[in-house]
Amino acid sequence: MLQAKAFLLVLFLCWAPAAFADVAVPPLSGRVVDTTGTLSSDDVATLSRRLLDFEKRKGSQIAVLMVPTTQPETIEQYSIRAAEAWKIGRKKIDDGALLVIAKNDHKLRIEVGYGLEGALTDVTSRRIIDEVIAPHFKTGDFSGGISAGLTRMIVVVDGEPLPAPAPEASHGSDDLGMFLLNPFNPFTILFVLAVAGISRNLLGRLAGSIMAGGIIAAVVWFILGSIAIGVLVGGIISVLSFFVEIASPSQLGTRPGRGGRRGGDGWSGGWSGGGGWSSGSSSSDSGGGGGSFGGGGASGSW
């Protein structure tokens, strides 16, 4: 009996580490995320509106995250985790900045993406924290402090030459497209085999291989936006499917109709649209623009 109790005790003790678990990074539900409930919904809306206008004008993304505490991590460790999870800032341009406030720890940090490190240098960030934000926070004026700090950050980033914001709903090439185009991807291989096999069976050897090439060319053009590459890849596929008999109906085990549907299902898997917030009207933010962070910026306290 005692042994059983001891065993149960050990089992329960295994849950103890959960008490020291790191603070979770909240999902990117908007440009201003406040899990402490300090900011009123009006404040959140106003600040989000300003940040959205800034992004539309300049392209760079700034966000605010306020949590009660980051213990047991330091605010630097937590900020870089949050920045890596949210990925604000445009991909390859990395022009994101994140203002993280740990209210009960009395600590705050501006985490700056690679692309903004020239403007929001460590010294500049430190000065914004010490001279602009901390005085407000010391008197308990959180919304005023955040607002003033964001104003300063926007002014600083405005002075930095960045690529113009993209027109809305541009595809570009995103990770899903690259994943599907990678020639070693088994899904791609199967898809191409299916298309080639079905076209040949439907139309005969010559016309079928041309049609297969045409379909693949259209798909590649759709992903990459480049007609030349699409025609090139389509041409290669045509030639290959002309000479190599990929599959017969008995091998695929389908009538052309079923095969076509299967090819279609392989494709409809997912087009999530390029970029993150730039459409502005989307209500669900699955993430930022793909920007990355290197640990630049500065921390401070009040």
Binding site: E76, I80, T121, D122, V123, S125, R126, F184, P186, I189, L193, V244, E245, I246, A247, S248, Q251, F293, G294, G295, G296, G297, A298, S299
Partner: protein, 203 residues
């Protein structure tokens, strides 16, 4: 027969990816990129050191041996080569991390000493340098973490079945990771002595 060959060709392509040769290459390049970033950030810190030493000298000339310690540590760091080949040579890697560790200790000694000089601490230039130094140390930490993660991914692939067969066939070994030198020293909290240091003997 042709049908059979084409199916075989497709299968061969698929199995190459599963054997992980490409994955090993990708991870190896990722490690090199992350290592370059680590070296880059250490270099950035080394570049800050002369300015830091000069600004401290202006207020605390008598702390000569501490300042000398920092300058020497920085010189030593400059003399250690840090190329990607270091990753394949554990001894060279050890030398590199040791030199950087000595510079870290020298810098923290300097910082402790500056606590005694309130004029220095309120000097604007010194404050700017301190925020740059803190930023650089943070970047070093982030770069090291990313390097450690990529080495972990690589070592896992090297050691897992079936990719370890590919690794053995092509001669890929595990990559070195950052050790914590002087673990005992680090586990005891550093002592901060706020009593003003006794006046140094005549120079």
């Amino acid at each position: 027969m042709r049908r059979f060959l084409s199916v075989l060709a497709a299968l061969a392509t698929l199995s190459l990816t599963n054997c992980g040769y490409n994955a090993i290459q990708t991870n190896d390049e990722q490690i090199k990129a992350n290592w370059s970033e680590v070296v880059n950030q250490y270099q950035r810190r080394a570049d800050l050191v002369p300015n830091l030493v000069n600004s401290v000298k202006g207020f605390a000339q008598q702390e000569k041996d501490v300042l000398l310690g920092v300058t020497n540590a920085r010189a030593k760091v400059g003399s250690v080569q840090a190329t990607p080949e270091v990753l394949n040579d554990p001894a060279a890697f050890q030398k590199f991390t040791q030199a950087q560790g000595e510079l870290t200790s020298a810098l923290s000694r300097l910082l402790v000493v500056t606590e005694n000089y309130p004029q220095l601490k309120s000097d604007a230039l010194f404050r700017d340098l301190m925020s740059q130094l803190e930023g650089t140390e943070n970047r070093i930490t982030v770069a090291r973490n990313r390097y450690i993660k990529s080495v972990q991914d690589y070592n896992v692939i090297i050691r897992s079945f079936p990719t370890n067969l590919t690794a053995m066939a092509f001669g890929y070994k595990e990559k070195p990771n950052f050790q914590v030198a002087n673990e005992k020293e680090i586990s005891s909290a550093p002592k901060v002595d706020f009593n003003p240091a006794p006046a140094a003997p005549a120079k």
